[in-house]
Symmetry: C3
Subunit: 319 residues, 3 copies
C-alpha cells in the first residue's frame, strides 16, 4: 500500500506523520525551511507563495500557541487564513466530521491544518479527500492524540542540525512522559530516519511505552545514567493531569528524579543543547537555571518552527 502522505510521484502531498517518510523528504523540508529563515529578518516579512490560497485551521482540540504559529507561517506566505471555532460549529450541531470537510472543500479550501484529540483523525481526512478526488487539497497534522506531531518533530530536527551540523555521531536523550507524548514519538521517528546512532528515553516506568526497544531506543530510568555523554537533551512537558493521577507520586517527587537541573545537565557533554516543546512547567520538568541558561535553545525552536511550517505548507502547495 502506498504511503498516504505521498502522491503517485512519491512527493509529499499531506504531512500526517514522520513515520514512514524517507530521509530525503525530511532533508528537503529542513533545507527549504533554511531558505525561509532569512525572511523573518527582512523589513517586509512576506513571500507570495500561497497568495490567494485558503488555509483552514481546524483545531478540534484547543492550542492557541500551535494555531498561532501556523497562522503566522501561512500569513507570511500570503495565504488567507480562516480559523474555525470548531466547538461552536456545525460539527457541534451534529454534522459528521467528513460532512464538515466536504463543505469546506466546496468553499475551495486549499489546506487543512488539523489538531484533534483522536489519533488518526488527520489520516481519516486525507483518505476521504483521496476518495472524493480532491487531489489539490492538503492536510497538515498539527497534533493528533498521542500519535504524532510531525511539524514539532521537524522543527526539533532543524534545531539539532542548526547546532550540531549533522546527525551522524549524536547521542540524543528524550526525558519525561514519553507514553503520552506525540512529540516524543515524532522525534524518535525523525531521529532514527535521519541517522542518529543513539536515541535514549529517560523516565519512570509508568511513563515509558513498552514498544521503545522495538523503535531502537535505549531506556533509562536513572536520569543521571541517561544523560551521560548526551549531545542533545529534549525535555517533555509534564501534563498537569498526570501529576494528580495514579501514574506519579507528586510534582515535587517528579522534579527530584526527572527535573533537569544545572547539576544533572553537567553530566551531559559540555556543549549539549537543551530543548523543550513548550509551554514549560518551571520547577516541574525543568529548573529555571537551565531554562534560562546558555545551553537552552528553546526559543530558537519557536523561531525555527515558523520557518519549518512555512516550508511544509509551501512544499505541499507546490506538489
Amino acid at each position: 500500500m502506498r504511503n498516504p502522505q505521498l502522491n503517485e510521484n512519491g512527493e509529499l502531498t499531506h504531512l500526517l506523520s514522520i513515520e514512514g517518510l524517507p530521509r530525503h523528504i525530511l532533508s528537503h523540508i529542513l533545507d527549504t525551511a533554511a531558505s525561509f529563515m532569512g525572511i523573518a529578518d527582512r523589513e517586509v516579512k512576506k513571500v507570495p507563495l500561497l497568495r490567494g490560497k485558503s488555509v483552514f485551521n481546524l483545531f478540534f482540540e484547543n492550542s492557541t500557541r500551535t494555531r498561532t504559529t501556523f497562522e503566522i507561517a501561512a500569513k507570511r506566505l500570503s495565504a488567507d487564513v480562516i480559523n474555525l471555532d470548531i466547538t461552536r460549529s456545525s460539527t457541534a450541531k451534529g454534522e459528521t466530521l467528513l460532512d464538515t470537510i466536504d463543505n469546506l472543500c466546496a468553499m475551495h479550501a486549499n489546506m487543512f491544518v488539523v489538531r484533534h484529540a483522536a489519533s488518526g483523525a488527520p489520516y481519516l481526512i486525507a483518505e476521504h479527500l483521496k476518495r472524493v478526488r480532491h487531489k489539490n487539497i492538503h492536510v497538515v497534522n498539527a497534533g493528533d492524540g498521542r500519535h504524532a506531531h510531525p511539524t514539532q518533530g521537524l522543527l526539533d530536527m532543524y534545531t539539532i542540525r542548526h547546532y550540531k551540523q549533522n546527525f551522524e555521531h549524536l547521542t540524543v536523550a528524550i526525558v519525561g512522559d514519553i507514553l503520552h507524548s506525540r512529540v516524543a514519538r515524532s522525534d524518535i521517528h525523525a531521529l532514527t530516519t535521519l541517522g542518529v546512532p543513539e536515541v535514549r528515553a529517560i523516565g519512570p516506568q509508568t511513563l515509558l511505552p513498552a514498544e521503545l526497544a522495538k523503535m531502537g531506543v535505549r531506556v533509562h530510568h536513572d536520569m543521571n545514567e541517561g544523560l551521560k555523554g548526551c549531545d542533545v537533551v529534549i525535555m517533555l512537558r509534564l501534563q498537569n493531569e498526570r501529576m494528580n493521577g495514579a501514574l506519579l507520586p507528586s510534582a515535587g517527587e517528579y522534579f527530584k528524579h526527572y527535573g533537569l537541573t544545572p547539576e544533572k545537565l553537567a553530566l551531559a557533554r559540555p556543549d549539549a543543547i537543551v530543548m523543550h516543546p513548550g509551554p514549560m512547567n518551571r520547577g516541574v520538568e525543568i529548573d529555571s537555571g537551565v531554562a534560562d541558561g546558555k545551553q537552552a535553545v528553546i526559543l530558537d525552536q519557536v523561531t525555527f518552527g515558523i520557518a519549518v511550517r512555512m516550508a511544509v505548507m509551501s512544499i505541499l502547495a507546490g506538489n
Copy 2:
C-alpha cells in the same frame, strides 16, 4: 413607501430580504455570481474589488458556517474582515444595538453582515443608517429569526438555474419544517419572482405556516403525492429542538413520513436535483443514499454560495 433595500436610483443598497425585489435585480446578482465562478479555479483566487473596505461580521446568533462563507467571499474580494464576538462585546455591557452600530460606523465600516435571532434586526440597522445619513454603508442580512435568509435563497436559485437553465417550466418542492424556516421563506419569494409556475410545500400540518396558499404555494401533507413530477427537491434541516418538542412525535416517525429516501425520490422526475441548506441530519430529514447520491447537488450549493456572496457584496459596494 420606497423599498428600504433600494436607493433613489432603484439600485440595491442593502440586501435584507428577497421579498419585494424585482426580477431584474435577482437576475443581475445571479449573472454577477456566474462571473465570479471562474475565480475559484484560478491560481490566485482574489479580485481587488473591495480592497481597503472594512466588512464587519455581526453575528448575534452563532453560525460558524455562514460566517465563514461570508469571510471567504469578502477576503476573495480583498476586503478587510473583522469578526465581532458580539456575545462578549459592548452590547453585552448594556450598550444598545444602535449605539454599537454608530460606533462601528464611526470606525469607517463599509458593510455589516448581520445574523440575528430577532426577525427584522437588519431592517432596524438599515433604517438607522438612513436616518443618520450613512449612505455608503451597506447591510447584508445573513439570517434574521424566522424571517429571511436572502443569500441562501439566491444561492439556491443559482443552483437551480445552473442545472435547469431557466425557471419557466419547473416544479419545485420544499420539504420539512417550513414554519420555522427563513430559508424556505426566501426560496419561495425567489422562486415566484423568477417565474417558477409550481411551488409545493410538503410537511406535517404542525410545521407548515397558514399563509402558504396566499404566497402561491401548493400544500402537500403526503410526501409521495408532493414529490410526483418535481424537477427540484429542497430539503430543510429539522432543528433538534423541534424533535423534542410537542410539534413532532419523534425523529424516527418524522423520517418515515418526511425523510427523503431513494424510494421516495424515485417519484420525482428522473433528472430531479436534491438540495439542502446544510448542515444535514442524516437519517432524520435525508437518507445517506440520497445525500451522497448522484442527484444531490448539496456541495455545489456551498460552492455557488461563495460566488453569490461575492456578487452581493460587490454589487452593494458599487452602488
Copy 3:
C-alpha cells in the same frame, strides 16, 4: 533613570502612559494622526507602513471594542494582526507571562498591544523586552488596571484640539468615577502636559482619588458648580459593579447628582463639547438628550481614535 518609553535618542519606543511624556511627543502623535484622517475617506483605506509586520493583540482582559479599533488601525497600516485568545492560551496552562512574551518574540512579533487588569503589566513586558535586548519590539498599553489608557487620552486630546484649536485657554471638566478610571488619569496627564490652565474633577467624594489636588486638578462635588464656564465636559462610564457596591446609593441617585442632562449642560459654555469614552450607560451617567445632542462629539472620538492608533503604531515602528 530614563523614561522606559523612550529610546536612547529620546524617541518613543513604547506607549505605556502619558505621564512623563514631553509635550512635543504628544503633539507629534496628534499631528501624525491628522495626516491619517484623510485615509479613511479614500477609496482604498490602506497605507503600507506596517506591511509584513506582525501585531499581536494580547487582551488579558476582554474588550471587544478597543481590540477592534487597534485591529482596524493595524490593518489600515497593512500589518498582519494576530488576536490571541489569552484566556485559552498557554498562560492558562501555567506558563508565565514573560515566557509567553518570549515565545511570541521568537515568532518575530513586531508589536504587542496589551490590555491587562493589573496596573503595570505593559511596563513589565517593556522592561523584559529591554532586558532580553529585543530593541525592535514595541509595546502599546491598551489599558492597564486603574493606571493608564494612553491611546484613549490621546484621542481625547485630538478631539479637543479639533474642536477648540488649542489648549491654552480651556477649562475642562471630567465627571464621574475618577477613582477607578484609567481614562481620567491619562486625560489629566495629557491636559496638564498640553497646557490646559484649568482641569476640574466632578464626582462624589467616594469616587474621587485623594491625589487630585497634587495633580493640579480642582475638585467639585457639586456638578452645577463644576460645569460653570467649561469648554469641554468629559463624562466617564459608571461601571455596573460600582452601582451595586457600597460606594454609591443607586443608579437613580447617581444620575440625579452626576448624570449629564441638557439642563446641567446649559451651565457650561454654549459652545462646550461633550465627550465620553463609551460604551455609554444612557440614563445613568448621561441623558439621551445630551448623548444624541449637538454638543456631543462622542462618535467623532471613535473616528479620531482609529487615526490616533495608526499614528502611535507607525511612529513606534519607525523609531
